[in-house]
């Protein structure tokens, strides 16, 4: 069944999607010519990404996860991963890492076909993922560039303690900022950081509004497949820039118009005209078959109304905004608060809140082979959430950028069965209520 109103051969995109695509593409262009333009390049990860700070040093920002996922969407990662495995990397480990290393081995050509020059500094923000630490040790092994390590403690007991915050602040002040000054030759200007943080807070406000628009019926957005586009600028090289602020303001207007018109989300095949199932989804998406995967949902009228993946680069819906009055401390709080840096009980609580606040019919886990940070414990989380909410839960397994671990028939079969179960449960609930 296809519930998109106008099935079209040409892929449908919102204006905001096109805008963010242009922004990301421009960043790849800037990276390609950075050294010729006399600029330095930093490389850092999405969770705990200190973009506002990096901008203070005029660094062009490279994000290896973004490279990997962009390459996967262009079907390039299978070759990269095999290249890395040929050189001794295990089939068991993270496919983002192998994609990155394979891309380097094959000549450092980025997803848009332009060169990705060697970075001048690796900002190893070790936030919520052990693999990050090894990843940049491996990258450092290849490149002879400086590495600035920021250890962000894990929020094991569901709160940020003074010791955690002080530790991150000390590292930023005593080590990270002096290293960035030395590498770039640019003196740190805290007022410049404050200005960037002001822009971040504005963009964050609009992003939260957009994501919370999914509380409407029908939801004007898909908060997983569409949400990934919406998070692109704020999770990558743009948070803190005026461009990002303008993007989120435009996105907000676009979503507001859709609410006014009572429209559902835009899928690659047009506007979804019938919202049959509302889901909360835990875990990252699969990138190698992104559109096929999405189609399995919208063909059945399933809309994701909230997702944990859109919080991986920052959790803003509990009120955190970057605070220009406490510029270094707010960077610490941002890093400490990222989704995978939160304890399992805190993640369960958050997802249960989503189930309730977004009136979801079901909870689905897309469990990713590559990502133990997300995946270890998800089966227990699933049982807890099912028990607390009384809503049916589903479980599928895919991978980030390794196409060998996406089995379309299995995933589709599981999803269809799961959606049928939800509809039966809904019908039973409606009959009981009547």
């Amino acid at each position: 069944m296809n519930t998109a109103a106008n099935v079209q051969t040409e892929v449908q995109k919102e204006e905001s999607m096109l805008l963010q695509k242009a922004m990301i593409s421009a960043n790849f262009d800037a990276l390609a010519t950075a050294h010729e333009d006399g600029k330095k390049i930093s490389s850092t990860f999405v969770p705990g990404n200190l973009n506002e700070l990096l901008m203070c040093f005029d660094l062009v920002r490279n994000l290896p996860e973004i490279n990997a996922l962009q390459s996967a969407m262009r079907k390039q990662t299978a070759g990269y991963i095999m290249e890395a495995e040929r050189s001794g990397h295990s089939e068991d480990v993270c496919s983002y890492v192998k994609s990155d290393l394979g891309m380097m081995a094959k000549g450092q050509i980025g997803p848009t076909g332009k060169p990705l020059p060697t970075p001048d500094v690796l900002l190893l923000s070790y936030t919520g993922c052990f693999t990050f630490m090894k990843w940049f040790e491996l990258v450092r092994d290849q490149y002879d560039c400086e590495t600035a390590m920021l250890h962000v403690p894990y929020q094991a007991d569901g709160e940020i303690t003074d010791n955690m915050r002080d530790f991150v602040v000390m590292q930023l002040k005593e080590q990270i900022i002096p290293t960035l000054e030395r590498v770039t030759g640019v003196k740190f200007d805290i007022d410049r950081l404050r200005e960037n943080l002001k822009e971040s807070a504005k963009a964050e406000e609009d992003l939260v509004w957009v994501l919370q628009a999914a509380k409407n019926r029908p939801s004007p957005i898909d908060a997983y497949f569409g949400g990934i586009y919406y998070c692109g600028p704020i999770f990558s090289a743009f948070r803190g820039s005026k461009e990002a602020t303008a993007y989120y303001a435009a996105l907000r207007r676009e979503v507001a118009e859709r609410i006014d018109q009572g429209l559902g989300p835009i899928t690659p095949e047009g506007v979804l005209d019938e919202e049959r199932i509302r889901l909360v989804v835990e875990g990252p998406p699969n990138w190698t078959h992104f559109r096929d995967f999405w189609k399995m949902f919208y063909d059945e009228g399933a809309v994701v109304v909230a997702s944990s993946y859109t919080k991986v680069g920052g959790v803003y819906d509990y009120g955190f905004r970057h605070d220009p009055d406490h510029p270094i401390e707010t960077l610490a709080d941002y890093c400490l608060g990222c989704y995978t840096n939160r304890s399992l009980p805190a993640r369960v609580d958050m997802l249960c809140d989503y189930m309730d606040e977004y009136s979801a019919d079901g909870f689905l886990v897309n469990s990713i082979k590559s990502c133990n940070s997300f995946s270890a414990g998800q089966l227990l989380m699933l049982r807890e959430i099912e028990e607390r909410t009384g809503k049916p839960a589903g479980f599928i397994e895919t991978d980030l950028v390794d196409p060998r671990y996406f089995s379309p028939a299995n995933v589709k079969n599981r999803l269809e069965s799961y959606f049928q179960m939800i509809e039966q449960k809904k019908a039973h609930g409606e009959r009981t209520a009547a």
Binding site: S87, V93, F130, D141, F167, P345, A376, L380, E384
Partner: protein, 388 residues
């Protein structure tokens, strides 16, 4: 006790998945408490100083039938958390009053949250040890974390843990580290006298026994082992690496030796060999523990190495110090730290012309013949090169 009796006792402890020795220790006096900990490193001195028994939990090995544990984990996650959950949900760990989960990897980290969800009445602590090795930054952070752990244990013990309590514990653990160093030195010097499966069982006993008793047991073993003449074989000398968390089946270690390798260094139960020098017993004990961690702790895949040039140096030094002829990488399947680190360690070995071989295992691996063949081929190739 003769060597065989000591080894037999250690084997009994190793095979007892109901942790009878821990239960007996608790029953021997009123209000005794036991605290479990996962690999790789926790400061056991603090648990001991609280009058509690630190108990190393290393999964279920190849003796445990995992029935419930598999329902908690996807197939692509390593074996140790699923068998540890199995031990817990089947009541085998109910003798533990708390659990510490160190920052070994994301799986062990998330297991702390699973414990919080499953066993909310227990003391559960995730121990974030610093990956920043500046005394004024990572050191300060770690001292405060240790203080927080001290307070949590004191609350459970119903009494303060004084500085002198901690100093006394540090002294006992210094002696234990000294005994283990003597055992390892003896094996390195005369590996035919100290088979690695026996070293392994002795180290495992240290995960369960009170520290002073374990120290005495090691010295007894060394004394008795020296009285026994064991045949010297034409084996090659190897270091094994990758066994710091999920444990190999005992048969795997036997297979490596039977294949013609003397293991002269390893990374079993690093908690007991983490600190490479004595911790001072005067001054501020938490500061001393933190500084020992920062200044002289072992290198393993769970730790960040600050300088590119230092990566793998620790392993290369171990090869040279122990006159090893090669390295066997034995990595648990799906172990991110070991498997991500391995290519960098291999590069460091290659740069020094040190041969290596690598395979994967799980704690319940039953098919050891391929491993024996691989280790045998590796040993043969080393012998052939040496002859050339």
């Amino acid at each position: 006790m003769a060597v065989e009796e000591i080894v037999e006792r250690c084997q009994e402890l190793y095979e007892d998945l109901r942790f009878t020795s821990v239960r007996d220790w608790k029953k021997a006096a009123a209000n005794r408490k036991a605290i479990g900990y996962m690999p790789v490193y926790v400061p056991r001195e603090l648990i001991h100083a609280a009058g509690m028994l630190p108990v190393g939990i290393l999964g279920g090995g190849d003796q445990l039938d995992v029935i419930h544990g598999d329902a908690y984990y996807q197939s692509y996650i390593c074996r140790i958390p699923r068998s540890t959950i199995e031990l817990a949900v089947t009541g085998r760990l109910d003798c533990l009053d708390g659990m510490l989960f160190p920052s070994t990897c994301d799986v062990i980290r998330n297991l702390s949250g699973m414990w919080q969800l499953k066993f909310p009445d227990k003391l559960i602590r995730y121990l974030d040890v610093p990956q920043n090795f500046n005394l004024d930054i990572g050191g300060v952070f770690y001292i405060r974390e240790l203080q927080s752990l001290r307070e949590a244990l004191a609350k459970m013990a119903g009494r303060e843990i004084s500085d002198d309590d901690i100093r006394a514990s540090i002294e006992l653990y210094n002696k234990n580290r000294e005994a283990i160093a003597a055992l390892y030195a003896y094996r390195s010097a005369e590996p035919w006298q100290v088979p690695t499966p026996e070293v392994y069982l002795l180290m495992r006993a240290g995960m369960l026994l009170p520290v002073a008793e374990h120290t005495e047991l090691i010295y007894d073993y060394i004394t008795e082992a020296k009285k026994v003449e064991r045949p010297v074989r034409d084996n090659c000398r190897v270091v094994i690496n990758g066994l710091f968390c999920e444990q190999p089946p005992l048969g795997l270690l036997k297979s490596i030796e039977m294949a013609g390798c003397y293991v002269v260094d390893d990374d079993f139960m690093l908690v007991a060999r983490w600190l490479l020098e004595d911790v001072p017993t005067d001054g501020d004990p938490l500061r001393n523990l933190a500084h020992a961690f920062i200044r002289y702790s072992t290198e393993t895949s769970c730790k960040y190495v600050e300088r590119k040039t230092d990566k793998g140096k620790f392993l290369v030094e171990s090869v040279h110090r122990n006159r090893a002829e090669g390295v066997i990488f034995a990595s648990p399947s799906f172990c991110d730290p070991a498997l991500l680190d391995r290519p960098m360690l291999q590069n460091a070995l290659s740069a020094q012309g040190i041969p290596y071989t690598a395979f994967k295992f799980a704690e319940n691996s039953g098919q050891l013949q391929p491993i024996r063949e691989q280790a045998g081929t590796f040993a043969d190739s080393i012998k052939l090169w040496s002859a050339a």
